[in-house]
Symmetry: C2
Subunit: 133 residues, 2 copies
Amino acid sequence: MENITKKERDCLITIKESSNGPFPVRLKDLSASMNIKPPSVLEILTRLQEKGLIKKDRGMVALTDKGEETYKRIVMIHRTLEVLYSRSGIDANDACKKIGNFDFLVDYDDAKKISASIGNPKTCPHGKKIDGS
Amino acid sequence: MENITKKERDCLITIKESSNGPFPVRLKDLSASMNIKPPSVLEILTRLQEKGLIKKDRGMVALTDKGEETYKRIVMIHRTLEVLYSRSGIDANDACKKIGNFDFLVDYDDAKKISASIGNPKTCPHGKKIDGS
DNA sequence: ATATTATATTAGTATCAATCTAACTTATTT
DNA sequence: AAATAAGTTAGATTGATACTAATATAATAT
């Protein structure tokens, strides 16, 4: 697993989260969602592509298998930490924001062990599924 | 609390940990400990100084009060997470290395809440004190 | 106190990440 | 085909991290 940066992480997640449903994600959508200008998005996309995490097809951006896997892992880590935070009395929305600053730096296997030690929670505090694959 | 980078974090910790006892830390010591050349250390030191975390006196480097506070917080966060990792079955030395990659991004108050939720552990897996001030 | 040696600093360069504007190209849609 | 929208290239900037080579400043030994 290659290292990614915070912005690459955000971009990966935005791509995935924007492509629920039949609408393909385009550069300008990412630009709008991420609040950065198209050339800046393109720059991030280029690095993501070099890392084999996304692919482009006539302006449409999608995750590769590897990108999907990376996405899934980040989300699993993120939600597991959300549970941990939440159970410690930290507000779920606060937790979400803060955890996003470092979830991509946390080791997946470590997150799995932490998850196991807190009883393999099935959902995050917002009720979203935690995939324990 | 200002944001710091990983290298600034490492430098801060190296300064503190090298200045146990009567020997002041010098640029060349940091250069040796951190495995980076003196001008590169100086660069990091300059930023730390701009952030008010260190001060220099004829080649001697020391933490300011603010730097001490930042150091203490990072260490508290670090050790609390080490306990968490350790209790999840992760090897203490592995944990230490990995946690160092993101401990400086974790909110101190959140760490305090997490600490409380796991019983305010008094020591890290290596036996070092966790300061709960 | 001077010469030597060690240390610190400056100057200049490089890379990577993140960002922008302006210009240009390629699609899409009238 | 003309107009509009979207994507891309080019060029610049900033911040962080590094380096080498040169210079300046201390510290030490003679």
